[in-house]
Amino acid sequence: MSDSTSGRRPLAPRGEAARSLTPPLADARPAAVRPESAADAAPLRVGAGTKSRRGAEDPAIVRWTLIALAFLAMTILVVIPLANVFYEAFAKGVGTYWDNLYNDPDTLSAIFMTLKVAPMAVALNVVFGFAAAWAIARFRFPGRALLTSLIDLPFAVSPVVAGLLFVLLFGLQGLFGQWLREVDVKIIFAWPGLVLATTFVTFPIVARELIPLMEATGSDEEVAAVSLGARWWQLLSRVTLPNVKWGILYGVILCNARAMGEFGAVAVVSGRITGQTDTMPLRVEKLFQEYNLPGAFAVASVLTLLALITLVIKVTLEWRTRRELEEASRLRTLRSEA
């Protein structure tokens, strides 16, 4: 019995489990960060030295050309468009910028709508993603493989189709439409529809982040906790959640970024009611179509700003995770030496 409880690695020694924690976490990070941190975490430093020597052997012209190309591409694809958003937003002065954001009730309502819909979608995803990851990482049950692939489905489905899906379910002509109208619950063409559509398209993010992490940590600690008499909330708050907290945080950030920017799915279920069901991306399009370019760019600049904040939080988190891993590997080395 105990074999199946502890999942895939029933008898893995503590050190093994901790070391296998590295790959899934490293996977989540950008490629540029990965080799370095993997080298730091692993006691063996084989690749590091040879690689840098080979790098130095490349002719200077090759190195500089490649670096210049990379910078050029980044400037054209990322820096200039981003800077342009702010430039256009402020093209008619700070006063107009402020007017466009603060004194336009429809824009304000769109900003608040996004700030309401995105966190709700993220919260739903954290709980369901965590539950799904737990189920998949800890238990063998019929349909487990099916569940794993179902979790990925929203990434494969076009967001517009996702939106239509909800219209077909909850629309007046849909499966639950008449009943919802009778009990006077609005789902599509109101904010719950926006939350549902956003949750659907972002669903895989948190679960995908957690499954490898939970599989790697194994369930030894949970089994120990429960056998020592931990209640369910103690199990959650003292053992399971602390083990995956960075994974959850990372998932939250990615999920939030995607949720705030979602356009296709919410466009279908929003009903385009200005000042009521518009989110920020929808508002940007509307302002653009109404010839209010400074207004469109002002809202776009707020979205961009939120994205930049997300980026900063992400980098900080990565830095902290890396430090914790380094700490863990140092302790491990000390322990094995003793």
Binding site: M1, T5, M120, A123, L124, V127, F128, F130, A131, W134, A135, R138, F139, V167, F170, G171, L172, Q173, G174, G177, R181, V185, K186, I188, F189, A190, W191, P192, S219, E222, V223, V226, S227, W232, L235, L236, G271, R272, I273, T274, G275, Q276, F288, Q289, E290, Y291
Partner: protein, 339 residues
């Protein structure tokens, strides 16, 4: 066994707690009530002004504070959204057959045309050409459109009133001048071969033509054309073809929704307001054609006289014409091959 059960139970409790929290949030965030006007794409600016004029007037008359919300998009897709449960109190769409669709779903009175003057229209419009400044391709009449190397921008007739009217106007330009239906079919087939992109609504097409700079001729609403010229700051101009279609955008309140919201009086007053001299003046200023004779006489000068043929030239009525041209597998499907 007990341990596994414990873990599984935790999972279950977590999900229950979440569902409870969402339910609570829903109950706390009840919607406020407004008048919702679901309209077609180019009327955004018109109804912004109409609403600003109507709200104080209604407050004085009925002592009620109104908030009027707007929703705009392709006329066909907007009608579809109302059928799907978008709770419009009034619909102000582009083509009467779109209102018939909503009536068919049982949401409003089948005899809606008889409830307001002039078959439920307070303004008319038509389809004109917008070309690049100086008319470099020398486009003046419908046959000019199918000359080689001319790209035409117009929205998708399956979703947009503008799109349907463009095709009807093109078709009628042949048949009204004595051409046969076969000639008309050849003409529109060639015309749609020269359309590089079909947007979902009128405003999307305008963006394609003006902001993205695609195409040589934009077939659009007369009112949209004036706005387009104004916003493009002189980089495009209007060309009136000698003949085009008479569009009669319909107005109706949606019985099923106003009953639920208790907004029947307000919805009715709102639409009736459109026939008043004050509203007709706003309508004319936005380059729609007023239907009230007094207002029409006053603003006639600003509207070039071109021959406008009614939809009955192409079918029994709007619904019949729509069915004939845009039904599944009908004329449009047979002439248009998506690229």
């Amino acid at each position: 066994m007990r341990i596994k059960k414990e873990i599984r139970l935790t999972l279950f409790k977590l999900v229950v707690a979440l569902v409870g929290a969402v339910g609570f949030a829903y109950a706390a965030g009840a919607e406020t009530q407004n008048l919702l006007n679901v309209s077609y794409d180019p009327t955004r600016e018109l109804y912004r002004d109409i609403n600003a004029a109507f709200i104080p007037e209604y407050k004085a008359k009925a002592a009620t504070d109104l908030t009027i919300k707007q929703s705009h998009g392709g006329s066909g897709s907007q009608a579809r959204a109302v059928v799907d449960g978008l709770e419009a109190d009034v619909v102000t769409l582009a083509i009467p057959s779109d209102v018939d669709q909503i009536a068919k779903a049982g949401l409003l009175d089948k005899d809606w045309r008889k409830r307001l003057p002039n078959d439920g229209s307070a303004y008319n419009s038509t389809i004109v050409f917008v070309v690049r400044k100086g008319n470099p391709k020398n486009v003046h009449d419908w046959p000019d459109l199918v000359r080689e190397g001319i790209e035409i921008i117009t929205p998708n007739p399956k979703t947009s009133g503008n799109g349907q009217l463009s095709l009807w106007a093109a078709w009628g330009s042949v048949t009204q001048r004595g051409g046969s239906e076969a000639e008309a079919a050849r003409f529109v087939t060639q015309l749609y071969k020269q359309v590089p992109v079909l947007d979902a609504g009128a405003r999307g097409s305008t963006t394609t033509f003006v902001q993205k700079g695609i195409g040589d001729v934009h077939l659009t609403w007369e009112n949209e054309a004036y706005l387009e010229v104004q916003e493009a700051e002189g980089s495009v101009e209007i060309v009136y073809p000698p003949i085009s279609i008479l569009a009669t955008p319909p107005l109706a309140w949606v019985d099923a929704n106003v009953k639920r919201h208790g907004t029947e009086a307000a919805a009715r007053a709102y639409l009736e307001f459109l026939y008043t001299p004050k509203a007709q003046e706003i309508i004319a200023k936005h380059h729609y054609r007023p239907t009230e004779p007094a207002a029409l006489a006053r603003f006639q000068a600003g509207l070039p006289k071109i021959e406008l043929f009614p939809i009955t030239a192409l079918g029994k009525d709007w619904s019949d014409a729509k069915d004939r041209f845009f039904g599944e597998g009908k004329i449009f499907d047979s002439i248009y091959k998506p690229k």
